[in-house]
């Protein structure tokens, strides 16, 4: 079920394995509650991603430019703004979402609308 039309890009910082990247997430067409197509950009590289939400905390990603294989990735929040990701049977720690830490802390503690707007325009 399409819940909203994705219009503007959203930017946020993602830190994986000690390296921080400013990632731009932009829906391609309507965003379905279970998934959709997105464009993700960081470090001058753009990826088209077909993403499907499998269940709480699990995503299936198909990246056409990387072989079309479906990659299952699990995510669970271990602390406000911090995620543990499961990729290929391994858990990635110290993977943090950190778009100016204080905003994310607010985001995950329920004041989402306000903080997300800050985030989206940041």
């Amino acid at each position: 079920m399409a819940t909203a039309a994705g219009r503007g890009p959203v930017r946020l910082y993602v830190e994986v394995a000690g390296e921080r990247r400013l990632v731009t997430v932009e829906p391609v067409g309507p965003v379905d509650s279970d998934g959709s197509r997105f464009t993700l950009r960081w470090n001058d590289t753009t990826y088209e991603v077909d993403v499907s939400r499998l269940r709480s905390g699990a995503l299936s990603l198909i990246v056409p430019s990387a072989g079309h294989a479906s990659h299952e990735v699990t995510c669970h929040e271990t602390a406000p703004g911090e995620l543990a990701l499961g990729v290929a049977g391994r858990h990635v720690r110290d993977s943090a979402l950190d778009p100016r830490q204080r905003y994310l802390l607010v985001l995950f503690s329920g004041w989402a609308e306000y903080s997300w707007q800050l985030l989206a325009t940041g």
């Binding site: 503007g8 990632v23 965003v31 991603v49 993403v51 858990h91």
Partner: protein
Amino acid sequence: MRILRACREMGVPSVAVYSECDRTAPHVRQADAAVAIGPSAPADSYLNIGRIVDAARGTGATAIHPGYGFLAENAAFARACREAGLVFIGPEADVIDTMGGKTAARRAAVDAGVPVVPGTEALVDTLSDDELCARADEVGYPLFVKAVAGGGGRGMRRVAETDAVVAGVEAARSEASTAFGESTVYFERLLEGTRHVEVQVLGDEHGTVVPFVERECSIQRRHQKVIEESPSVAVTLEVRAALAAAAVALSSAVNYTNAGTLEFLLDADGHFYFLEMNTRLQVEHAVTEMVTGVDLVQWQIRIAHGERLTVDRRQALTPVGHALECRVYAEDPDAGFMPAPGRITALRSPSGPGVRNDSGVEAGFEVPVFYDSMISKVVAWAPDRAGAIARMRRALTEYEVVGITTAIPALLWVLGHEAFVSGRFDTTFLDQALAERHGRSFSDLSAEETDLAVMAAALFAYFSAADTLGRGVDGTGPTPWRHAARLNGLRR
């Protein structure tokens, strides 16, 4: 769960006992009846013989299977069961006393003509410091100071020279006293470059002993088995026959009944030395079941009720294919394999062709801090070893445990290690290979995997925000009020 499954297949009703923290454990909910036996601390529940016997009496149970932990090798427990008129599914208490005591088992092996690792048959506790050193010099270095009641690497110290003997004895005694309540120790020569192989036996009350094809358990971390397999790549047909003959000779000599395992060290020339006997079902029994098709737990129950053993000896010694077992622990391989208990929030178990997962947990289960942190044993079978390794890698990659940290990444690393794949390893392989990593994380990702992680993190945040908002993340979607109004409209 393993025992319950066997009972159910045999039409035998089962009663589970549980401690406070295991109230919601799968085995409690799946048994035909369940009885609380006390607080979570093992001494107050699973090690409390009186409470377990009372639970059996109170429910009308006629037999007790001791599993493979806690009281499984406790002669007093076996005696208490028999005195209460209950069938103890295991060997006679006197046999547990003999074979469970490592020095007595060594003496029995020598008497049965089975080669043993050079060491002391007598205990060394009463010796003076000078006498200790002299006795150690006779055994030769390096040696192990071993606790008679020890196991799983506890109560054991490596000693390389005379000057370290007294300290080694004191450390081993102290650890054994804490872990097992029994501090007596003995010396055993450390044979280097050896592999750990073991022979499963079943013995009935009519004098029949059947040996099974060997299991190889050389992949150990600090003397704790991590990966087991059957058959061993290092065992020839001649060595297998000799191992089986030795196992039968020793088991018969002590009138062994029910399931037991004789552990040996095997050197590069095919010479083997008896180490000890486990007078119970082993954790790794599943690999034997997979390559022989024999249900060992069902046979334990049948033997305990006086049935005659009819397992074909040739079938038991002729493996069909190859099986591997990985012990999956809730522990953090990037933190020195520290236990990592906690709540499992989501779980996807491995399955598919040739895969068996003996597990005692499920989503929502809290892995307790009180007990061993093993959450399951994954077994992979294939027509050959390479196929079994590939299947195990596939199974562990499928295995998803969310909410706690597991050692699965380390297991996958071992399974891909050249020494493991080629079969060229001994009992020191894993500790050395881990040391050579110099603490490098098991979570290191390839460039492609790192990109996936970045994408997933960003998208997860995107969806989380959308869920929290109840609208499009760019703020243009319907508000929660609008959602509610639409739902109300649909209900009309």
